[in-house]
Symmetry: C2
DNA sequence: ATATAAATAGTAATCATTACTACTTACAAA
DNA sequence: TTTGTAAGTAGTAATGATTACTATTTATAT
């Protein structure tokens, strides 16, 4: 893969925040560094970075958000403000039961907990 | 809420399948019973049925799918064919840990397991 | 029966994302 | 160090899912 300054900037933006931003936000941040960067470039490079394992994507309702934390982890989502919070909680399920009962080969778990973050608990 | 034949038909379609259909599929089925039903009517009523607890929605990638099974349950998703399969697996997490460590009030878990269904395991 | 507010059909608009195209640039080889 | 070229980009158009709008229809209370 050829070097691209735009891709470098985009990667650094995603990896420098814990806010799990969407493409639009990354685009706005990137414009601060590259005034005429294109939204299409942001979308394309986010996908490339995801496919090469540099970042992860999270499907949140009907938007895609990106995460610079590529370690296995799950999220808490605040239903009030939409914030996603990284956690180290484990998702353990009975692998054998799934194979036996459902004839299904499990591979990966997507898991998040909805609730209210500290800003919104009363 | 006023009675609507369209809403009744839409509800019966969603509650008569385990395929977790999207709005487009429900629309096609509904047209078999009401030739000139409008896609907007389908979207509006799916949302109403969800808000009144008659059906549930599942955000799958960038599409919304609906589920007539309103009992608490989780899904297996086949990465090959996109099939969603209902399960009775439990999602147990350490509620106290989440409150203590993250100052977060958990309310609901969304959880699904990606893998391959029996049609696609070799 | 009639009034009326809610629901509908049909169509236009929106929003996130992807596709297209002419121009630019990284970088390999001369 | 130039130069050829394929990969990458900016800018814009297109797509697909969903929502909004509006004139017409319909459920239902009086």
């Amino acid at each position: 893969m050829r070097y691209s300054y735009q891709r470098e900037v985009i990667k650094n933006i995603v990896c420098s925040t814990k806010s799990h931003p969407n493409a639009e936000w990354v685009f706005c941040e990137a414009k601060k560094q590259i005034e005429n960067i294109s939204l299409g470039t942001v979308y394309r490079n986010l996908k490339i970075l995801e496919n090469t394992g540099k970042i992860k994507s999270i499907h949140d309702d009907n938007q895609v958000r990106y995460d610079g934390n590529i370690d296995d982890h799950h999220h808490l989502k605040c239903v009030e403000c939409g914030a996603l919070i990284d956690t180290d909680i484990q998702s353990n399920f009975d692998r054998k039961k799934i194979i036996d009962d459902y004839d299904f080969e499990p591979n990966e778990v997507k898991f998040f907990i909805l609730g209210k973050c500290k800003k919104h608990t009363k």
